[in-house]
């Protein structure tokens, strides 16, 4: 397969960026999207052109490092997969593919397709935890938890923190990310104790980082590679109200 790639190039955080077009040829359909970029990069290096910078690590869809806004969608055209799990058979031979970084004010571009998502870390630091110190835990079976509750918590806990929800949202809202953590911890008996402080602290940090508000377009759920549901946002709103009035 052959492709034309329109790629965002930006030397550093301060530089102005622009699109550049590259050709890649003879790509097999079982090549992954990132392997296709690897092939292009090897080519560029040999031609003395700087390779394209992009974030990636596990290449199995679990670490949340890869990003990329492909043809107008975070993680590209397929639902429920990350960029690293996208294969070229999902594209048409001869297609022009546009590749941009995740764009959002709280995620500044560092270079080319690499952005700074440390705002997510700071939101977790503000309250995305259960305050238990090592050594003070009771036996794991001392509090039975209904299977359905754990499954629901796990559905939310699966979030990989990639930031696709923010990139998909016209307001750059981080509500899906924050609500997934609030739900995961708040649903479990261990996490219920602190749930009101947690939601207040995390939301305050989210606002401080400059994420926008949620206007219920649900683009986040549609683009989430892990299928995190917007029902979590409803739960966050309930908890937030409860916390504000308590």
């Amino acid at each position: 397969m052959n492709f034309s790639l329109k790629v965002w190039r930006q030397a550093n955080a301060k530089a102005a960026g622009e699109f550049k077009t590259y050709k890649v040829n003879d790509i097999t359909e079982d090549t992954s999207f990132l392997e296709m970029l690897d092939i292009l990069n090897e080519d560029l290096i040999k031609k003395n052109e700087e390779p394209i910078t992009f974030d990636h690590d596990c290449r199995e869809g679990i670490c949340g490092t890869c990003s990329l806004y492909i043809n107008g969608r975070p993680h590209g055209p397929k639902n429920l997969v990350t960029t690293c799990q996208l294969f070229m058979r999902s594209f048409k031979d001869g297609e022009t593919i546009t590749i941009e970084p995740f764009r959002a004010k709280p995620f500044p571009v560092l270079k080319d397709l690499m952005v700074d998502r440390s705002a997510f870390d700071r939101i977790i630091q503000a309250g995305g935890f259960i305050s238990v110190s090592t050594g003070s835990a009771p036996d794991g079976n001392s509090i039975p938890i209904h299977k359905d509750v754990v499954e629901e918590a796990m559905d939310a806990a699966q979030c990989i923190g990639c930031g696709a929800c923010v990139a998909a949202c016209k307001n750059a809202s981080a509500m899906l990310f924050v609500s997934a953590k609030v739900s995961h911890l708040g649903l479990l008996p261990q996490g219920k104790v602190e749930r009101l402080e947690r939601v207040l602290n995390m939301v305050a940090q989210m606002d401080e980082e400059g994420f926008g508000s949620c206007t219920n377009t649900y683009a986040c759920e549609a683009e989430c590679p892990k299928g995190i549901s917007v029902t979590n946002i409803a739960r966050l709103n309930r908890e937030f109200l409860a916390a504000t009035f308590s």
Binding site: L34, K46, P51, E60, D121, I124, T134
Partner: protein, 637 residues
């Protein structure tokens, strides 16, 4: 040099308790006077940083990813062992200890392994308290599954994302400490050297991966929790960034490297598909609970699996190992797969694969049950191969997965360099020559949550520390060395990319230092690695500058280190003229082609000491004695 493992005396059940009691303590109000550097935020590093922060030490924590939560531990799928015996199926601390020593083919220290088994039960409690959503049964109690090398169900899991959930637990505990300013956090920062002052580890030199600036950090102790070095093979199940740099540079500063040739090749991975492939994907071992491994009985049988009748299939693991069947340990399963493929009975277009078939389990349990257990793994397989494993058996093949070798540490997890501690996959300690499934997560968390908080206090309280900061000349020297190396890499401007050299190295390692090793092959590997390393330093092309984001430069530094480590691995494999666990010397096998140990000559840890560029390393031996688990030839028949 005498290697003192500092194993406490007394009966094995009370060694750890007595040892902890004997360790000096740092009083709570004094802890803030001590500073500790922790490199790595995987299960080992994040749990250590969180726990030491909670205790009140001043901690600085580093990782090369953009967030601590993305460390490679996140990718672990199957589960974590603990001797809870919630199933009442005869499990106990002693049995987990026994299984691990035997599974490791008698090349691990009994005392360390016993402690690991003992701490395993506390780990589960800790994780549950942090909100890790482990799978539960209908009554609300914790569920278990079985893993290879064990006949009890002791593996706790969170769907197919156990590593992710455990890491998020440790990460959140760490985040709490960062939020309260007890821990200083340095993501996107790569350690490039260890700094020794007056014989003690006192700091690191690191590169800020965003600005490219070289920075020094000083402390009273340094903890490396930097993961494994499986990527020396280029293709492995490790994340792309996993590397050996931190431990290799520490090795070059004097830390001994233990059993570098002990590599685990995991039996169930998606087979290699082509030249451009960048990594291999693991299909969790837990699949062997419900999947049956087979190949056609006849050579070169190219029929579709559905057309091969039952009596023309060879369920070779069940046939050869009736008591463990599909759940034999990894080294055994991998070698068996290689054997049937070498016989010409492999499947798929390359003939380098075997089937992992779920048809019987789907019939017995229903598709929904299988989906609940392995849904995300099946989806991942489908995504990568474009084949539906609910309908067609998976094709799998062994791939490099884990490194049992690592920096040598004593019972306190301190290397031979005072003040340098090593945790998790980066050390050599608990798995001997083969690691059992679901035991790496257990070890990482045992090291970080429970061992280091006690042992580091013992070290700090027992030493006096001169005040120093990064203006000390040792830091300046190390910084200059790091900078020179970077300039050198950028100046070569040769013809080939870094990835090209990495792939070439991987091929040498897979062919000659992989699943089957022999003397001529290993000697050939050593000379080929040397030649490749020379060529790398003359002909690699790294574009861009040092003081900016430069991913090629990052890779180049890591590959340069792999090119050195690879030679030591081959050297170690060559000297160990026995087979044990994952190390299979073709010269040493039983009549049934199983690994044949030579306890008389090789029941020791091989700890290698660096001697300088181009010089052969010196071997030190730590003898291993077995008081509680009788040395026997392993059998899973």
């Amino acid at each position: 040099m005498v290697l003192d493992a500092k194993i406490p005396s007394g009966p094995i059940e009370s060694k750890w308790t007595n040892h902890k009691f004997g360790l000096k303590l740092v009083a709570p109000s004094n802890r803030r006077k001590y500073s500790v550097i922790i490199v790595g935020t995987g299960l080992a590093g994040a749990s250590a940083a969180a726990s030491l922060g909670e205790l009140g030490y001043n901690v600085k924590v580093f990782c090369f990813q953009d967030s601590a939560r993305r460390a490679h531990s996140v990718a672990a799928q199957g589960g974590i062992n603990a001797a809870k015996n919630y199933r009442n199926d005869g499990d106990s601390i002693f049995r987990l200890f026994y299984d691990t020593v035997k599974g490791g083919d008698f090349r691990a220290r009994e005392a360390n392994v016993y402690r690991l088994a003992e701490l395993s039960v506390n780990i589960i409690d800790q994780c549950v308290a942090q909100g890790v959503p482990f799978a539960r049964e209908y009554g609300g109690y914790l569920d278990n599954r079985s893993f290879g090398g064990a006949q009890v169900s002791r593996t706790f899991y969170a769907r197919g994302q156990t590593g992710q959930q455990l890491l998020l637990g440790a990460y959140s505990a760490l985040a709490r400490q960062i939020g309260s300013k007890q821990v200083e956090y340095y993501p996107r920062t790569e350690m490039l050297d260890l700094v020794m002052v007056n014989g003690k580890a006192r700091g690191i030199v690191a590169r800020n991966l965003v600005t490219g600036k070289i920075e020094s950090h000083s402390a009273d102790a340094v903890v490396l929790a930097t993961g494994g070095y499986g990527n020396v093979f280029y293709l492995s199940t490790n994340a792309k960034g996993s590397n050996t740099t931190a431990i290799w540079r520490a090795h070059k500063k004097g830390a001994l490297f233990g059993n570098p040739c002990f590599v685990q090749i995991h039996p169930t991975c998606i087979p290699v598909k082509g030249e451009y492939q960048s990594k291999l994907t693991l299909m969790s071992e837990s699949l062997r609970n419900d999947g049956r491994v087979w190949v056609p009985k006849a050579k070169g049988d190219k029929r579709h699996p559905g057309q091969i009748p039952e009596n023309e299939r060879d369920y070779y693991l069940e046939r050869v190992y009736p008591s463990f069947g599909n759940l034999v340990p990894r080294d055994v399963a991998s070698r068996a797969a290689k054997k049937v493929c070498d016989e010409g009975r492999g499947v798929g277009s390359s003939g380098q694969a075997v089937y992992l078939d779920f048809a019987d389990s789907i019939k017995r349990l229903g598709k929904d049950k299988i989906k609940e257990r392995y849904g995300n793994l099946f989806d991942m397989y489908h995504e990568i191969t474009d084949e539906n494993p609910y309908e067609v058996p998976m094709r799998i093949f062994p791939a490099v997965h884990y490194t049992m070798g690592g920096l040598w540490v004593d019972y306190n997890l301190m290397s031979n360099l005072p003040g340098l501690f090593v945790l998790g996959e980066a050390n050599f300690s608990d798995h001997g020559a083969n690691r059992l499934g679901a035991s790496a997560l257990m070890q990482g968390l045992a090291d970080g949550y429970f061992v280091i908080p006690s042992t580091i206090g013992g070290y700090l309280a027992g030493e006096s520390f001169e005040k120093l900061d990064t203006s000390h000349e040792a830091f300046k020297t190390a910084e200059n060395e790091v900078k020179e190396r970077i300039s050198k890499l950028l100046a070569i401007n040769g013809k080939e990319t870094v990835d090209y050299y990495h792939r070439m190295l991987g091929k040498i390692m897979w062919d000659n230092v992989g699943m089957g090793r022999n003397e001529p092959g290993l000697k050939e590997a050593i000379s080929k690695i040397r030649a490749l390393r020379d060529e790398f330093w003359q002909n690699v092309k790294v574009l861009g500058e040092g003081e900016e984001v430069n991913q090629s430069l990052e890779k180049a530094g890591r590959v340069a280190d792999f090119l050195e480590l690879a030679e030591l691995m081959a050297q170690d494999a060559l000297h160990r003229r026995e087979s044990c666990g994952g190390h299979f010397r073709e010269e040493s096998q039983t009549p049934e082609n199983e690994a044949l140990r030579d306890d008389e000559n090789f029941a020791y840890v091989a700890a290698w000491e660096y001697q300088g560029e181009g010089k052969e390393e010196v071997l030190h031996k730590e003898p291993l004695t077995f008081e509680y688990v009788k040395l026997t030839q392993r059998s899973y028949k």
